[in-house]
Symmetry: C2
Subunit: 396 residues, 2 copies
């Protein structure tokens, strides 16, 4: 059961993205809004090898701007590896010597899984705003359908950061008998008014772009300016003030005080413009609308009665992790979730890590975070599988 | 020397805005960028009465979106009074029974003082982006010219919040012999990279609006959408997360999960849209560009040598005030300024107040903040004038 693709730098190496079409016959995917979707394409990648008794499955869930490509490279000369490459690979926390990791593009996304830019079978044109409203629950439901399709019955762990943490929590709530463990990182049980406000302004920026055309821009010009503004603003909130100061401070690109030069005096301005302009080449504006709205709506514990009912059957082992400079999803949000779980006698642990990376810290290398995540996952593996840790199922 | 306009509710009552044209003959206003401006209109208001020896003058400096109308009402049925009405009036900290308060619209503004929307005498058309780059120093220099024009030689105090605090600090640095005291509230000696980043994205939103037309929109359609996005984003940063949660939380306008409804589910979304759309009816997008850039550039203490030189002659009594939930201009920024002043043996006091209003707290009613401001100003008056506090020069 060796993983022949392991490369010498602890990378999973060259990976191939797969696509499967689900809900293409019979029942379509029933959504919380009452509508349904079908067929539904799902883009996904896997890393590591499924063991004989299929007890080593980990699902990683991506955040707003992520996709199925969580680790490795598609081509040897790809500039960047997948978004969680620091954490997925041989010897890394999501250790491909032990685990079989599944990463899929979220429902509503724009990178292989059916979303607003996909063709609406009823019209033969992209859905645009005719795409149904989706929820974090719907996103988890489609992941579950993928898992069923792969013939997997038990999940060792579901893990994700930011919105990925919401999806991981949703798994624990909706499929309590299936999930042994769950890592919810830099996340929250519900968005605050401030978070909703930032999402709302981002959506306004997109919808006020004259190219938006009520979401029907696929045959014309993208609302790239609006999406760039949305991304630039969001990007500021993903970084810490200290991190920005450390990286850019007041360093100037153009120290001269000249007229008509409102956009590139300071280094941080150029950086943001680059972030905005590169984002719009790879992301769909309608997906930004749908996914931020799904995040806004996420609120699994709106009142004590619902909370008690939702948590009744939950018996997964849960770890919650936050970062001290994350102000978009502050540590207090993680603690709120810890408190809810503790009050209902769930098995929950919590750790806050130091970082100057703000919300983005969950994507960055960090020895302590890495160690805690690795320990949590190996312990799960030890407790829930029959195979001893020392031999594992790795390539060595 | 009674103030006949005092109304029963401790308001300054009905006030009239004045306008004066300076630099209309001879020397124009020399700007830091090397260019010059003339003639220059200045809109201003005064509250209270100038005493016999002109020893009771206080200048209040407005922030980014403020104007000369700091207190009272222009008409009896005005919905709102001036922006600092809580603090200016008989019995209030800027006590019109004692003080003569001068408030002028900043250079580069859009409410009576010459700015980018004013007519460029060279072309007969609005300046637009032909308006020269201005600095906080230039803004203070124009205020100084107004004071000279009014025949005033000594300033009891200069006070301002946010950018107004930067202007107040500039006064102390540039006219050290003239200014007895200074109140710098919710402000900073320099913007952080995060602050510059927020300003930069706001400017991008304006400049990417297709109606912007390189700043020449005065005969066409305003870049209202871009300006609204800029304002909405900034508005989030002026409020605290706790304040937003207290005011809106996750309250919904539209609890139904429906399609195509991306902009008014949550109450906070409607509130922000209202803030954006009302702002654009009263503010000029080019002014937003010029003034945010002046804030970005403000950095009077870039290195120890400059700092020592700039502070050499300063002998004003300075109070610095911050608010615990202000994250746009965090308390640590105020402390940075306190430290600089302390290291140079200046007379500086500092106080942090509790508030849930975030950056906007400097505009809001607060007993402790009010009391400290009042005590500081009365003490100044006592120490620097010949008139005893008990009699004052008020209307009683």
């Amino acid at each position: 059961m060796g993983n022949s693709q392991t490369s010498p730098d602890n990378s999973v190496g060259i990976v191939e993205q797969q696509k499967v079409t689900l809900f293409d016959s019979g029942q379509p995917l029933a959504l919380e809004c009452g509508q349904s979707l079908g067929p539904v394409d799902v883009a996904f990648e896997t890393y590591g090898t499924l063991n004989a008794n299929a007890s080593n499955v980990i699902i990683v869930c991506h955040a707003l701007s992520g996709n199925a490509h969580a680790a490795g490279r598609h081509k040897a000369d790809d500039k960047k590896p997948g978004w969680w490459d620091h954490y997925i690979g041989p010897g890394k926390p999501f250790d491909t010597d032990y685990f079989f990791i599944i990463s899929s593009n979220n429902l509503g996304g724009c990178d292989g899984t059916t979303g607003p830019s996909s063709i609406n079978p009823e019209t033969g044109k992209p859905f645009g705003l005719k795409f149904p409203m989706i929820t974090i629950g719907d996103i988890a439901r489609l992941q579950k359908a993928l898992i069923d399709h792969l013939g997997i019955k038990k999940i060792l762990a579901v893990a994700g950061g930011s919105m990925g943490g919401m999806i991981a929590l949703q798994w624990v709530l909706d499929y309590p008998d299936m999930v042994h463990g769950c890592a919810i990182i830099a996340s929250t049980p519900r968005l605050t008014a401030q978070n909703i406000a930032f999402n709302a302004v981002a959506r306004q920026a997109i919808m006020l772009d004259p190219n938006f055309n009520n979401g029907e821009y696929y045959e014309g010009t993208d609302p790239a300016n609006g999406l760039a503004i949305a991304r630039m603003m969001a990007h500021i909130t993903y970084l810490s003030e200290a991190g920005l100061d450390k990286k850019f401070g007041r360093r100037m690109q153009n120290p001269e005080l000249t007229s008509n030069d409102f956009d590139h005096d300071f280094a941080v301005e150029s950086y943001l413009r680059y972030q905005g302009s590169s984002f719009v080449t790879k992301f769909d504006a309608n997906t930004y609308l749908y996914i931020t709205k799904a995040m806004d709506q996420f609120d699994p514990f709106p009142d004590p009665e619902t909370t008690a009912k939702r948590l009744e059957k939950v018996n997964s082992r849960i770890i919650i992790m936050s970062f001290n400079t994350d102000w978009r999803f502050d540590t207090s949000r993680s603690k709120e979730l810890v408190k809810i779980l503790n009050w209902h006698n769930k098995t929950v642990s919590f750790e806050e890590f130091s970082s100057h990376h703000g919300h983005d810290a969950f994507l960055m290398e960090s020895v302590n975070y890495q160690q805690s995540l690795a320990s949590f996952l190996l312990r799960l593996y030890q407790d829930f599988t029959d195979e001893p840790i020392t031999s594992g199922n790795g390539s060595t």
